[in-house]
Amino acid sequence: MGENVMLNEEIVLKRISDAYNFAKNVQEELNAMVTFVDYNDQLENMNMHKSGKMFGVPIVLKDNVNTKGIKTTASSKMLENYVPIYDATIVTKLKDAGAIIIGKSSMDELAMGGTNLTAATGSVKNPYDTNRMSGGSSGGSASLVGKGVVSMAIGSDTGDSIRKPAAFCGCVGLKPTYGRISRYGIIPYSSSLDHVGCFTSNVKDAAIALEVLAGRDDLDMTSSYEPVDNYSEFLSGDIKGKKIAILKNVTDNISNVDVLKCFNESIEKLKQQGAIVEEVILNEKLMLAILPTYYLIANCEATANHANLNGICYGNQVESQTSEQIMIKSRTNGFGPLIRKRFVIGSYGLFVENQEKLFKQAQKVRRLIVEEYDKVLKDFDFVCAPASASIAPLLDDKHLDQLSDEYLVAENHMIISNFTGYPSISVPMGFVDKMPVGINFTAHKFDEGNLLNLAYTHELCNDFKAMKAGN
């Protein structure tokens, strides 16, 4: 990306058709795509965008990004035949920058999961080991970028749904600040936690993609007026004197020594580059509450966000004698069991008799967690931790202890950036058992420029290609 001046049309066309064919070839292996997009229409006006920052770059969109005239399912049976009548704001931006959409990628149903096992089209496989998960909910995009099919794919991140699969699939996963990228046209999960972001194979591409995607959109009242930086220009490789806080709550709760070893090596290299690194501890009780807080806020908001899916105006309708029965049968049939279970919890949390002690309590604890985090970040430029306590789990992994501190804290700490809205990025830091593992950095709000430079510096001193070759 970004080297468009040298490209002639022939090279561009070949690059696009290569990517498309590559995607088709790995479909059986990865099951990462929901819909392959006939890109020929897009090629017609291609020369109009010759000066675009992503001219001729083949890309993939998570299947919750609305594309006019192109089926958009959010990997739910409910929307298996839904053809949007409008484009998401970012689709327009990407097309204007010259990018070519070659497909819509698989995701956890309605983005409500972290495994990508719940997609209507079946589980997505990890490009490094097809017996393992891609992670979710943006699993298809992560898998395709990790495999090298495309250099950029769009994802959405409600509770680490970009950054976790990026770590599992060995790619860069960026979730910028809340409001940095318009959410208009993105099928939501939870409005106050949803972020749009991207997967790329390197940090430079992430910077270019963000330049294209970011900016105020009047159709999204929560989008920001903050000026969009020239993020590429921040990539100096100089982090001298920058202060990085390591979340000790996370590292203390990771039992996999190889993951910790990779992490410590990464940190050492950053220190060698002149970064000042210190360990910090956040209130442990609050850290243990991250997941339930998230679970309640996300699912309560989701029950309302998905109340539009009733089979009346669009979406899958199950015929019935009465309109009420149409809604009930369509929703029963259209949503997978996991979604309906999460809806039950959301409904439970919102009922008047529970709202104070559940939904509102979660919103209050969210504030306490954010305040605790701000206290730490105040003295630092960045916060850092391993993106996951382990490598990508096996597809049939059922051994997860959902009450362990390792799970509750080390495996879910990245959700904090969904609470705060701060920019956060995961980048590969090495391999464990031949599987990629990632490191996560978070910065102050709207400080994507410096965040990307930190990730870039990390990338410079960790030759991922070499690691991959030696793997």
Partner: protein, 474 residues
Amino acid sequence: MAYKVVIGIEIHCELKTKTKMFSSAPLSFAQTPNSCVNEVDLAHPGTLPCVNKNAIKYAIMACSAFNLEIDTLVKFDRKNYFYTDLPKGYQITQQFHPIGRNGFIDINVDGNSKRINIERLHMEEDTAKQFHFNDETLIDYNRAGTPLVEIVSDPDMTSGVEAVAYISKIQEILLYLGVSDVKMEQGSMRCDINISLMKQDAEKLGTKVEIKNLNSLSNVLKAVEFEISRQSDMLDNAELIVQETRRFDETTKSTVSMRKKEGNVDYKYFPEPNIFPIRLPLDWVNEIVNNLPELPDARRVRYHDVYALEEYDANVLVSNKLLADFYELVMQDCDDGKICANWIISELIAQLSKTNQSIATMKCDSKNFANLINMITKKEISGKQAKQIFAQVVDGENCIELVKSSGMKQISDEGAILQIVIDVLNDNPQSIEDFKNGKDRAIGFLVGQVMKRSKGQANPSMANQLVSAQIKNY
């Protein structure tokens, strides 16, 4: 037994903005179905709401006119329920922070003023329109997302007459503000009436019954009166009144039960996460509040002060805004407010209803009408003559031309009339003799002759005066 009647009213009004509350699609009334919508109104996946500036402005205007305290931090909430006319599965409303609180209006019943407190005014959005047939329902989303204000009164009213006075006052004010059509028949204004009865000395309010489906003021009156007598009868017979929603049935002129309230529905309200709190700039709010259009009460006072109208005339004009606006236009070219008002109130209204027209559709412009009134006040034509051509004037014919072509211009030039009077007197010595002999009728005959000789154009009262004066010279 007579009971204490307690009435509270909730009024929903569609705002007359160009676009929807949360989308930039146009508002519509009776357009092609599903043609005034976009993806937001249809609640397509991924859509987000975007608040209409004018809807907020209109709500502020209404708040100000109803003396409500305006909350300049605007927030919205979701009201969750499933229904086929509600595309999102929730309605965006202002449950927790209404834009207006604690206001009032004064109503007038039988010459007495009474203050009705208004608890709140909040903004929300309308649902889709459904057409029910025997075994199917058709849905038109054109109405979906139309901006609404809901105005909730305190339970301060005690009779059907007061309820009607309250609603029509709200209606009149919103109409003068120009923020809503307030047409009850067309549903751009909808009233829900809560009514309960209690013993005179009781401290606890009686069980509340809600009446819906009231599409005119006269039905409001009938429904409330029916409900008072129904509930009174029940209480007299020691029957239990159940909390329920009833609708007014036009054919039987009675209220019938729609549904019993099975406890309160849990709408699971929570703050709308897609709309950050909006801080309204204080100078913008002040500018709106300070530039409100003239309200009806102020106009009544002005009609009295400026045009010297009696209370009755001022009321008739002001309560029909189009009529009042026409009156004011005419008065730009007219001096006599009283005569002008008389002609509008008695003649124009009658003529319009006779020909099935309205102020809005009639062809006569204010200048033409003013010319007619001026000719009357300047005695250029008589009232009788004016009535002869009135229908044509209302139909848009130029009244000056009409007067000219029908040769009916009244002679009010004293010298000209005097010449005719002298001629007539000279020609009728017998009549002069009769007058001198005490036959007053002779005057009438002579005036008749003057009118005849002037082809009916002499100003009759001037002719009369001059004959009476001149005859004494003989």
